[in-house]
């Protein structure tokens, strides 16, 4: 852990210090600190309502009403829990939305090919399945070549089989593009499968100790190491697996 900190100190992709955010009287984040190294995949676990999404929205620049310091790269992209595609834009135009560059459509086509949706460029969002729509959302994020990729429970609404396929796809894409990633999730297995490091947002509005994940990839869910890690994280979340 100390070595990770040391590397980060050189040039972090994200540096959050003393982040506070309250809604009315309720303070959700109370002086939260978080560093993410370039190319590092961090999973943030927490119970629902713990403020995970609040942190992510602050990093995404969607919430200006925070106190403290949140330093992020200019190029960042979000994948929300729902695909949030503009229903009146064809898939390719949804991917290239907001891009000013010349040839952004070709880039969008390439990104769609990367997520396995070649040939769907001119389809309307309403015709896509949940998994396909979320892959479009992934392509829309990646086409921006972000230095920071923010994932807000992106696979929470997908069925179990699709979710496994999406995990594999996300691992592939991250290996290729190497963005720093913050994945917000409440799925402990998902966090272990994907992340380099897992941290838990506690009820006090701060992050708990880091848990580096040192399992060989691809990570098998049925190994004892995986189980032990899962048990530890669940305990930190205040859940016992065996009732």
């Amino acid at each position: 852990m100390t070595t990770t900190r040391a590397t980060i100190a050189v040039a972090p992709a994200v540096r959050v210090s003393g982040l506070r955010r309250a809604f009315g009287d309720r303070e959700v984040l109370s002086g939260l600190d978080l560093d993410i190294a370039p190319g590092e995949f961090v999973a943030l676990l927490g119970r629902s309502g713990s403020g995970k999404s609040t942190l992510l929205r602050a990093l995404a620049g969607l919430d200006p009403d925070y106190a403290g310091s949140v330093r992020v790269p200019a190029r960042r992209a979000v994948v929300f829990q729902e695909p949030r595609l503009q229903p009146w834009k064809r898939i390719v135009d949804n991917v290239s939305i907001g891009l000013q560059r010349r040839g952004s459509r070709d880039l969008a086509r390439q990104a769609l090919a990367e997520v396995g949706l070649s040939g769907h460029e001119r389809a309307w969002p309403v015709t896509l399945s949940g998994g396909e729509a979320q892959r479009v959302a992934l392509a829309r994020a990646l086409v921006r070549e972000p230095d920071l990729l923010l994932l807000d429970e992106p696979f929470g609404a997908l069925d179990a089989l699709t979710r496994i396929r999406m995990h594999a796809l996300l691992r592939q894409l991250c290996a290729r593009h190497r963005p720093a990633v913050l994945l917000v999730t409440h799925d402990v297995d998902e966090a272990i499968v994907l992340a380099d490091r897992i941290t838990v947002l506690g009820p006090d509005g701060r992050l708990g100790p880091d848990t580096p994940v040192r399992l060989p990839t691809p990570r098998q869910r049925d190994t004892p190491e995986f189980g032990a890690l899962r048990g530890r994280l669940l305990a930190e979340l205040g859940v016992t697996e065996l009732d």
Binding site: F80, R84, Q86, W124, V126
Partner: protein, 309 residues
Amino acid sequence: MSTTDIPVALAAQPARTGTDTGTTAETGTAQQNVQHSDRRWLVEARTFGTRSRRLVPLPRPVRRMAGPVLLIAVWQLLGSLGLVSAAVLAPPSAVLSAGWDLARDGELGANLLASLTRAVDGLAIGVTAGLVLAVLAGLFRLGDDLLDSTMQILRALPVLGLVPLVIIWFGVGEVPKVALVVFGTIFPVYINTYAAIRGVDNRLVESGRAFGLGRAGLIRHVVLPGAIPGFLVGLRYALTASWLVLVIAEQLNATTGIGYLMNEAQTWNRTDIIVLGLLIYGVLGLLSDALVRFLERRLLVWRRGFGGA
């Protein structure tokens, strides 16, 4: 033998698999019971679908036309049999021949053109103004504060109650008629478009913002496309309103138009021409509706998700 053929009965009567005739009779009853309950509780899945099987092999459009055709036939019969005099309600045949006469001497065409021109002028102004005001009030807080309450108050005024005032203001020419159409069409467009702009899904706006859209980009790529369905609803109301307003406006101090034609006919007790005028208004209403549906098909392809070049 019978017991092996009927395993259900066998299971039901395991202790009595003897060879005496009594057992055979028993199992026979059991089988009947099984069949009986089978018939009672289980139905062939397909039977639900066959309910809608057509008894009359007529295409749907033909069946849908049956009602109107029957209505016209009864109407004609009432006239032909002398049950209803032409002074009260002219029969369809008289309406048709009146239409033919008016069409031949060019009177119908000229008056129809006059009415259409008023409707189109009024709609063009009213719809544009309603749309512009809705966009201003929907997108900008200042516009909202300045416009919305005013519009909500004005829309409560009955259009037709304005007729005397409009005549005093604009006299008896084309202007008061067009002005009434403008007044009748501006509010449905405004109300529906404003509500649609305000109702655009905030998550989509946020997503657009997260992917680098500025204010202008959000308006162009998210808010306005999202408001189109609401605008089209408003347009549909506006088209209906335009004909409604014209009916009245053209019966006041007009010298051309379908309403004028009907008003003249009233003086001479020509119910055939009055009914003809009503029919024309009806057809114009139908055509307006078809126009909006055409626009919907073109503008809202993304809703159905297929077609579109």
